[in-house]
Symmetry: D2
Subunit: 282 residues, 4 copies
């Protein structure tokens, strides 16, 4: 098997099977927002049209949110609700790589639409972390190395564990508790970057163990991030902090608030959950 982490590279495109199977108990009808599609930027690489299969059959209203994500909304009926999806996507096989020496774009040279990703958001209290960020990273060069220093710090100082997840956890909490899940790693890195005047946004998607040893945990959706460096958005990932292939983008936003996979405006219970992301051999 190719080992991306050892520097080996795929010779060409990779076919990845992606999908999920979610079940909910819904005590009474409740509106839900679903961000469960592949992002329009990558949807052209899918083998089949996208479809959320609902049981019971139920109308789904699609819309583009203001970040450009494809979202859906439903009025979930009371009772058991199952949502499934299955597809195959063609991935470039190229790992995201850090680009040493790349210049940080000065704030006044960025397109205005980058600025929104410099501001504070629910889980990224930029205003409270400015001093800390400059204390830690103010002496790094004004290049990709500053971004890398942030990623290295977060990766090196925060311990991963599913038991550390909680819905109200912010970047600030992660900074003091030094524990979290992938969402928490990204929130802290994003907050540091914004405080350093580097636009950063939060991303959700599929990230399978392709080209890396399989993880012991059941497959889950993943979170990573993007930073605006050298006049373009670049993938970053404080959780793994290592080049990966096979990132399938679902949604981008300011932080996890904007791109929750499902948001219920009322009570629902997730009763079953499985996700798959597997390389299709051949």
């Amino acid at each position: 098997m190719i080992d991306v982490r050892a520097g080996e590279t795929y010779g060409g495109r990779v076919q990845i099977r992606i999908g999920f199977d979610l079940s909910f108990e819904v005590p009474q009808p409740v509106p839900m927002q679903l961000m469960l599609y592949v992002h329009p930027d990558q949807a052209g690489l899918l083998r089949q049209p996208e479809r959320l299969v609902m049981e019971p059959v139920h109308p789904v209203e699609d819309f583009l949110d203001w970040f450009g994500n494809r979202a859906a909304r439903i009025l979930a009926p009371a009772g058991h609700l199952r949502i499934r999806y299955d597809n195959v996507i063609s991935d470039s096989g190229r790992p995201d790589v850090p680009i040493e020496g790349l210049r940080l774009t000065p704030v006044h040279e960025m397109p205005p639409e980058c600025w929104r990703y410099l501001f504070a958001s629910r889980y990224c209290e930029v205003d409270r972390m400015v001093h800390v960020a400059w204390d830690l990273f103010g002496k790094t060069p004004e290049t990709w190395e500053r971004v890398q220093a942030v990623l290295d710090w977060v990766h090196g100082n925060v311990a991963f564990g599913y038991q550390f997840a909680r819905p109200t956890k912010t970047a600030f909490d992660v900074y003091t508790e030094r524990q979290g899940v992938c969402r928490d790693f990204q929130h802290l890195a994003i907050t540091f970057l914004r405080a350093l005047n580097i636009p950063a946004r939060y991303v959700t998607g599929y990230l399978g163990d392709i080209g890396v040893p399989p993880a012991p945990n059941p497959m889950d959706f993943s979170a990573w991030a993007e930073a605006y460096v050298g006049d373009a958005w670049r993938v970053i990932d404080a959780r793994h902090n290592h080049p990966r292939i096979g990132r399938v983008l679902m949604a981008r936003g300011r932080d996890a608030v904007d791109v929750a996979l499902t948001t219920s405006f009322g009570s629902t219970n997730l009763t079953e959950f499985s996700v798959w992301t597997e390389e299709i051999p051949g």
Copy 2:
């Protein structure tokens, strides 16, 4: 003089002179975002084209942000910077009035673009205030009365004082400290409303003492809010909680992060500040 608070109403349109004069000391060149224009929704009512007069003369780049606000950005030069604006706007003379009995729009009937104003944001920790909101307001009718109950509660339980302002203050802080400036009143009301599944957004603008006794403090910009009720956005104001005329809209956003009048990506000192909003007699 007409006294709006006593139920008297203006017979027709009112001409209002608006403007400001701001001075900054800028230690070294710094990018700034300025949200100092009248909002496009009301700009058609201005007597003259809008212009930010800069001293020294300096290029200004205008853009529309993703909320539809007209914003400007500059690379402020080192030294003294002065920004002035003066204009006259024609106001309807009609006060914003509560609409008793108006139905709350169910979440699944709202246009999708309302949903973004149901989510948590930096200063509006909806996720932490859900239980409190339902404890306090869960038994009110599903009409405008629920909105009014929120406004009455915030207005009646929070004390106003300029000394209570601080940049990191959130809705949650306001709820426990019960003190704040107009921004804080609105953040708390917005957070309660979102927790109750009523979209709410934050607004900045001019609000002069028109039809009300003059306030003792020097004139300042103001903040109010909008709630989506009865299939439309309605003005709300937990700070004054009384019908007013002459609200001149500048910008809308999720909370104060999005619509700060000036945002500096580096150090600046505001050295002088005056704002005017006066009815032009005749």
Copy 3:
């Protein structure tokens, strides 16, 4: 079996076997504080002298802390450390009962040493909860009913679950998240009570399932509290909110900071943990 919750009462004293068996991995020598003895107020009811059995054998220095608790301290050696304790205590068999109509002692009539239990502490942010407490409970009578209203509110509004525990969780967090373990229930109740000028202190001890149906979870130490009402300290328990017998007191303090069962000034890992609290038949 006697069922205390059904109103049945024990005819007389009950013998309870208590003890624990704890194991730690200690990477390098670390000072530890142990609050693992029965409190001096109840130690006279023990069948045998108290002894912490250490493996390896290790000197233990006992002391009384400033709350009057009996504590021990050790310099834990590197390697495996095991601490055991086993004893039998004679309990009155009388449940703690609410005392309806009992007058709240006015602040200026309390002994000065009660006042320390009116102040804020690490996990009990009284200063931030004063307004909330008076909103919720200000109209209750100035008797035991006010205490009972606090206990009922906390018991009824907070969901119990071991997965909700975290070391930094404060009363304020519990109030907004509405989830927690027994420590969290008590912290919130204590904070409300202090805000209402009722002294309240935090208690740790053994609480077995005596006279109540056995709980499904493995036995653990428990936390409850005491409130100063009617000129005396009274047992309260927002977690169970029902009369119980067989509370074996270990330590009292302002909150969980003061009475942690073990506190390590450096790194240790708890590897095994069992606690027993069983009625001895006959």
Copy 4:
């Protein structure tokens, strides 16, 4: 005039006049705790017996709190309340000096009563600052230099300003906002020290401008701290971070909660306030 900051020293004892004059409006009778005496450790140096002069004349009950401070309590009557105090104390004339190279006492060698000053308290969230403290100071030597590094960091990174005071502000807030009054400087330093296993306690007292240029602000009470180093408690002061003479100790505690100069269990308004601390010439 002797200038202590320039290294000049007083040849001998200094006589200092101390006192205050406080007025309150009291809407209805309210219990108050007053920590307005000189601490028993220094009371032997006073020229006259201590007396709180109350207008109207009112009974005062003195007591020692559990930290060993002399406190008073009253049931303040409704109406105007004035409390005055005036005295002269003899000061050693010796500045508090850092003691380079002094060994930090290992935790297990300290007397047990030091340990209470290692724990978290309301305004000193040690549990949330452990990682930050070790990041910043973990490489300093295990001597007085570690304490000095903490004082230098706090002194150098926090800006002083009366407008930055607020009652709920914690060490954690100071760390992120980098602004505060003397209380805030000490809370942050104390929290870092405890996180580093160095006992630290909070102190209030008189600190006049003796041997230093007069400050521009009206005289106020002051706060400093004490750290346990080299087997004894030593004065530290992150606010001034320079040797001073003439510290008149009033009260010690875990943080500002324990030693508030006045605590009201109900509503009172401070209407007038003056404090004096002057060297008596000759």
